[in-house]
Amino acid sequence: MQRTTMDLWVGVFVMAGIGALLILALKVGNLGTYSAAESYTLIGNFENIGGLKVRAPVKSAGVVVGRITDIRFNTETYDAAVTMNIDNRYQFPRDTFASILTSGLLGEQYIGLAAGGDETVLKNGDKIMKTNSAMVLEEMIGRFLFDKASENKASEDSDSDDDGKK
């Protein structure tokens, strides 16, 4: 094997390897979509985050505008402090509403931002004041049953004979 041919092949090999790593980063991964742009941080306090995970997307009108970077429990207020990185291209008014939503019936959970009408925008490190907790299935079922029960009660009140027999 001639030395020059060997060098050529090794060069091709290394370039193909670096190319493969780049494809992985840009085409397969999301490096191209978010960390290239500058971002700023927002914090939101939620009473209950349900199954929200770090790295879950932050969407507004269905468009991914950022990602969740940190979730921790706040021992003073006994709620969850969620830190999210938002792309600098997207600015939100101060009265933006953040709620934890689920994509599809059983899909992953994400934060949805609904913009308000305020003039001033949120800055790096600001806190989102208006938040809406995650829907927890047990709570929903519990509320549903409670509603059903009170409905029944209302109808039973008009028909008190049955009630008395019970």
């Binding site: 092949w9 090794v10 790593l21 992985l24 991964g29 995970k53 790295r55």
Partner: protein, 265 residues
Amino acid sequence: MPRRIVIGIRGVGHRVIDSIWRLGYASRFFLLTLLKSGISFRRFGLVIRELYFTGVLSLIIIIVSGLFVGMVLGLQGYETLQRFGAESAVGTMVALSLVRELGPVVAALLFASRAGSAITAEIGLMKATDQLAAMEMMAVDPIARVVAPRFWAGVISMPFLAAMFSVVGVFGGYLVAVVLIGVDDGSFWSQMQNAVDFRYDIVNGVIKTCVFGVAVTAIAVFEGYDASPTAEGVSGATTRTVVTSSLAILGLDFVLTSVMFRGMS
């Protein structure tokens, strides 16, 4: 009867002491290889030569296997996901399995059997034919001149090979899912890009391959250098390289996975 038990216990003790001794010997050898790596970088031509043998010659097996693994993942993923009506997530599944696990692990296993065994056999044969002793007598350190360049070539080529494996695998999955079955092209890529995180998935996968590369080549050069200088010795060492490094890859993979992906998404 008690005598037989004593002999049995002694056998266990002997094995344990033996393997600890060997582990220490191997670690010392590994350290020496690192210490004597200077020449590999001052005369990079030596490493380039070995890159050809470990990297370029492993390309075909890596690319072909990557393509097939990706195609199978595409088929199986579609088969399973379409039951839940989530067939557009097939790209996510293929990419995540490849980038996190199959790319690093399968590429490293193939690398161990293709390049690792070749390194062991080559160094073992050099020892069996007195080439290492001759080098030593010529005042050239065989660890610096023979072992270190092969070690570094293996360490360098492993991440590249694994990355190519993953890329070709994703392409194979794309071929099956999009071209053959007809999953939507756009959602295949966009779902994949949504779910695969650069730092979390790809960087961790690359770290894994680097660790596997070090482990496989360290085992390969050690087994070759330590082989008894006979035909049986070299063939035994080659077998040991493949077996030990395969086990090391799978064991390390578990450890690394549990550290990297613990308690997250």
